[in-house]
Amino acid sequence: MNQGIDLQGSFVNALVDLGISPGAASALWLPLPMVVILIGATVSIFVTVWLERKISAAAQQRIGPEFAGPLGTLQAAADGIKLIFKEDITPAKADPILFTLGPAIVVIPVFLSYLIVPFGQNLVITDLGVGIFLWIALSSIAPIGLLMSGYSSNNKYSLLGGLRAAAQSISYEIPMALAVLAVVLMSNSLSTIDIVNQQSGYGILGWNIWRQPAGFLIFWIAALAECERLPFDLPEAEEELVAGYQTEYTGMKFGLFYVGSYVNLVLSALIVSILYLGGWESPISVSWLASLIGVSETTPWLQVITASLGIMMTLFKAYALVFIAVLLRWTMPRIRIDQLLDFGWKFLLPVALVNLLLTAALKLAFPVAFGG
């Protein structure tokens, strides 16, 4: 298999050539990808917020943000600056410790989950053996933070919102995990890299979405519910709960929830594109094209092109999914809490189970197509 470019190796080698010991060079390398991903995730918020506003505006025949920066691109930055400079209010009877901890616990796991998002064969912070399972585990921490902020605000709407959020994420975690399990069954590995590699080779035809259409839908619905996107945004349903668990928050603590929700949306879209849309693979396989022209896979310029194309592809797929999420937001009315739980437990869960069983059966029957 094509190893792609090895940034870490080149970086360490360059430093060793400069006369630094290999251990120190590796230690110097360690924080770099994390910082890059952190910055990337933060920038992705700006892009997502801008996209969401512009797409919403277009769907409603408005113009959307226009005055902050060219085409309103700096609107998110303006929002962020406003949030930073706002007074940080803790309600008089709130619990100050839990009130502060809540948003942090919601946001940190989301950023941690970027550990396992690959943008290329070697362009990932860590290729963990438990890969996608880590993401599922981390995303199950968020309800604790939501409950914490809901409880500590000392406000009935907050508490109700927090309870709803926790109930919602617990219920939708299960179908989501089952959908992931079906994919894992086919790739024989939990590692995100292996999952993408298993889909590679046939261009767009090799993607998991053709083998797992039901799984794709289940996963995307459950991911939207986990992100509290609009058809499932009832933890913060304005008409009923003011703003749910965010009601009492101002300033940057509210900003953390805001950041968390958008980063989570992008993360879910990235994971969907990795699990079902072939990750960094382009619709037409690059290696196949290369062999068509007769260029070796290890040619340096080809590797650079492949890597950048991979990053572009991953982001493009993720943002296409974000676009669908925004479109869905303005199409679907919010569902009721009982409908939400009914849908999760009585529809998604059985369908996900059947999907898993079918995948297992198909894997036994056609090991060639379903990863023997």
């Binding site: 251990g23 230690a27 839990l98 963990l128 053996g129 438990v130 399972f133 880590l134 599922i136 585990a137 981390l138 199950s140 921490i141 309800p143 604790i144 409950l147 914490m148 409880y151 508490l159 927090g162 309870l163 926790a166 109930a167 617990i170 975690e173 939990l190």
Partner: protein, 204 residues
């Protein structure tokens, strides 16, 4: 000591402090909500200890099951059942306290004895690391099959029990034997049927 070893030592110290402190907090704090949240902290730091032991899968499972499910359920229980209860001081409460203390001391003595009696030696076996998932799976379906199946049957029983408890087909509006409250009735609702035949109205 290399960098990795130093990091591991520091991480071990922090995680141990977090586990012990959190556990003490769970037991000693008055506010039950704090106890529940600290329990989540304890579970998380235990997951950290598993990671230090090269058991990434177990750590992730620990976070998923204990933090994400068990702890959230405990919190749910606390937050949904906020029935204010007056605690009447019980006479001879000290008996219970002494009994609890005795049990705890006994448990602690047992644990200490087993800790002291175990020959602690770092096993020479290479940790499975990344392949842990596969090894765990193989164990589940060979030598640990019975405990695994028993655990799943236990969970199934709990699941069905919960469904039976939660599934009440019919909840009557008015409990039998209790007179219907008039607070929710509309005042203009006719209380008695009025006959349409003149002269035969009740009360004439």
């Amino acid at each position: 000591m290399t960098l990795a070893e130093g990091v591991q030592l520091v991480a071990f110290g922090i995680l141990t402090a977090m586990t012990l402190g959190g556990a003490l907090g769970v037991v000693l704090l008055d506010n039950i909500v704090y106890s529940a949240f600290l329990l989540g902290g304890v579970f998380t730091s235990m997951a950290g200890l598993y990671i230090l032991l090269n058991a990434g899968f177990v750590a992730a499972a620990q976070v998923l099951v204990y933090v994400g499910a068990v702890n959230v359920l405990i919190l749910f229980g606390i937050m949904l059942v906020n029935k204010e209860q007056e605690f009447t001081p019980i006479k001879q409460a000290w008996v219970g306290k002494v009994a609890t203390g005795g049990v705890c001391v006994g448990l602690f003595a047992l644990l200490t004895a087993s800790v002291l009696n175990t020959p602690w030696a770092i096993s020479a076996e290479v940790p499975t690391g990344e392949m842990a998932t596969v090894v765990i799976g193989i164990h589940f379906f060979t030598d640990y099959l019975l405990p695994f199946e028993l655990a799943s049957v236990l969970l199934l029983i709990a699941l069905i029990g919960a469904i039976v408890l939660a599934r009440r087909e019919f909840i009557p509006d008015v409990a039998p034997g209790e007179p219907a409250s008039e607070a929710l009735q509309l005042p203009e609702r006719p209380r008695e049927l009025v006959s349409s035949v003149p002269g035969s109205e009740p009360g004439r």
